[in-house]
């Protein structure tokens, strides 16, 4: 184990705070995606509070690790993680999707420092991350490039073009993380357009493949560590996650892919999060 118990608890607490912020910002926005951001909270908390080499006060620090978000619709989890990490005030998350906000419905690189890329249309992040990693390697740069992706976007041919490119060029400075939550807008991924065997496909494309429980902080941390030690291939971490994780009644329900909670639902969800699903009394109760 390369991560301490104490650190795991710290990250877990951050993940819970991120989930609360996600619910609050989506409710305030009145539109947006709920399931994906909640499902990726543990991974984003581990990235921003343990793995990424970054400086929230200097978002353009040249030596920072680069995190590309390919499935831009889950950006609330990134905004929430960035806010809690100190990139901007947590209150600003309530401007999500509002006119004049730096927090666009889908992320735009030049609007908010620290975003690295503009994304939303699916299938385009891996190519950008691979191009960035390729360019960085040309100059012997030491930072790592990460790319968070959805499983559903693997329907897109562009993803496989990019996977081929990264595999061919042995971009070992690139780590992709797939949010394998098995849902997409029209239903379960295996009904809409089967993706399995996803592991075998990436292996055939010359990637090092890891599969983890995407809610186990230790497993997330270990996998991201292992990726750093793989020198001949890019690494993809297939993170099995529960969409809507943390709110029992929406977990695994694909209907929550693209809608926000109402005010009443948000109050109920926040109470559930703040009591660690009924285990503790909330100060807000």
């Amino acid at each position: 184990m390369s991560i301490t118990e104490r650190k795991i608890w710290e990250i877990t607490a951050k993940a819970e705070a991120i989930r609360e912020t996600i619910i609050e910002m989506l409710m305030a926005a009145g539109s947006g995606h709920t399931a994906g951001p909640l499902g990726m909270a543990d991974i984003f908390a581990t990235l921003y509070f343990h793995v990424l080499n970054h400086d929230p006060k200097n978002p353009s620090w040249p030596e920072r690790d680069r995190l590309f978000l390919s499935n831009g619709h889950i950006v609330p989890v990134r905004y929430a993680a960035m806010a809690h990490a100190g990139y901007f005030p947590v209150e600003e998350t309530l401007t999500l999707r509002k006119f004049g906000s730096r927090l666009q419905g889908h992320p735009e690189r030049l609007r908010l420092p620290g975003l690295e890329s503009t994304s939303g249309p699916l299938g385009e992040g891996l190519g950008q991350a691979a191009g960035y990693a390729y360019a960085a390697r040309m100059d012997n740069r030491k930072f790592r490039v990460y790319c968070a992706m959805s499983d559903g976007e693997h329907d897109a041919g562009n993803v496989w073009e990019s996977a081929m490119f990264a595999g061919k060029n042995k971009l070992s400075n690139l780590t992709a993380i797939i949010d394998r939550n098995n849902i997409q807008i029209n239903g379960m991924t295996e009904d809409v357009m089967p993706l399995e065997g996803l592991r075998a496909k990436y292996e055939a494309f010359n990637w090092h493949v890891l599969e983890i429980d995407g809610h186990n902080i230790e497993a997330i941390s270990d996998a991201l560590d292992e990726a750093k030690a793989i020198y001949e291939k890019p690494t993809v971490i297939i993170a099995h996650t529960i969409p809507g994780k943390g709110i029992k009644e929406i977990e695994f329900d694909y209907n929550w892919h693209g809608k926000p909670p109402t005010k009443e639902e948000a109050a109920k969800f926040l109470a559930e999060l703040r009591t660690l699903r009924g285990k503790i009394q909330s100060e807000h109760q």
Partner: protein
Amino acid sequence: MAATRDGFGRALMELGDSNPNVVVLCADLAESTRVLEFKEHFPNRYIEIGVAEQNLATVASGMANYGKIPFIASYATFSPGRNNEQIRTTISLNQVPVKIAGMHAGVSVGPDGATHQALEDMALMRVEPNMTVISPCDVEEARKATLAAAAHDGPVYLRFAREKTPVMTTVETPFEFGKANLMWASENPKVTIIATGPLLFNALSTAQELQNEIAVEVLNVHTVKPLDRDAILDSVKKTGAVVTVEEHQVAGGLGGAVAELLAAEHPLPIEFIGVHDQFGQSGTSQELIEHYGMGISHILEAVRKAAARA
């Protein structure tokens, strides 16, 4: 006679020596897009993408985001055709300085037929904010445009033709993004011919043929976006009528751009030489230029018509 794509290839060789940040990405068309020489001389800065134009755009976006100056080369029907949304999101909206080189533009590609004759590429690129659109008239201007694209801090679309065409400019001819060049001046001109790309030659030939009939000015608008408003308005205020000339769909192309400008600023009669809502087909370059109404005789008639309407 020389092909504009050769000017692109020559400029890349110059950039290979002068600018270490320039990289070239190609989608399995190194020879015909004229990047082969760069590949051979600068193999570490040449990136093979394979037949994958969407990835061509997204990988280039990442490299430009890092700080490289990527030129991406394919046929215009595929790039910016097939990868249009990738260009929109990851290059134009993302504001990274990728240089898109679209080859084999226009019907003059000839025998390959409609699938390979890009007639809408400038329209696709012109409507994207942050994008500059350049359509060089000859091999020398193509060379200069490529060098200027590398120096420009933003996305650029460069349009090139396959066939050898007349050379009308020299090393000394000025070239500046967004500045049209007056190529033919007359006393008391009656019609402004606004041309882009190799068809500028037909526009100049028309001007010569009409010397004793209708005095004209010919503007070479190599930069279709941003349009040189001042040069166009200066000329049309002298003449009072316009003919636009391009090897592209008039809708959304140079004709559309000029019509938008003049309708707002200085309404007057305009005749449009170009392709009118049709696809191309197989044939020789010359046959197709004539068939689609872009020959010298067609421009001549258009000038007479414009003058009569003024």
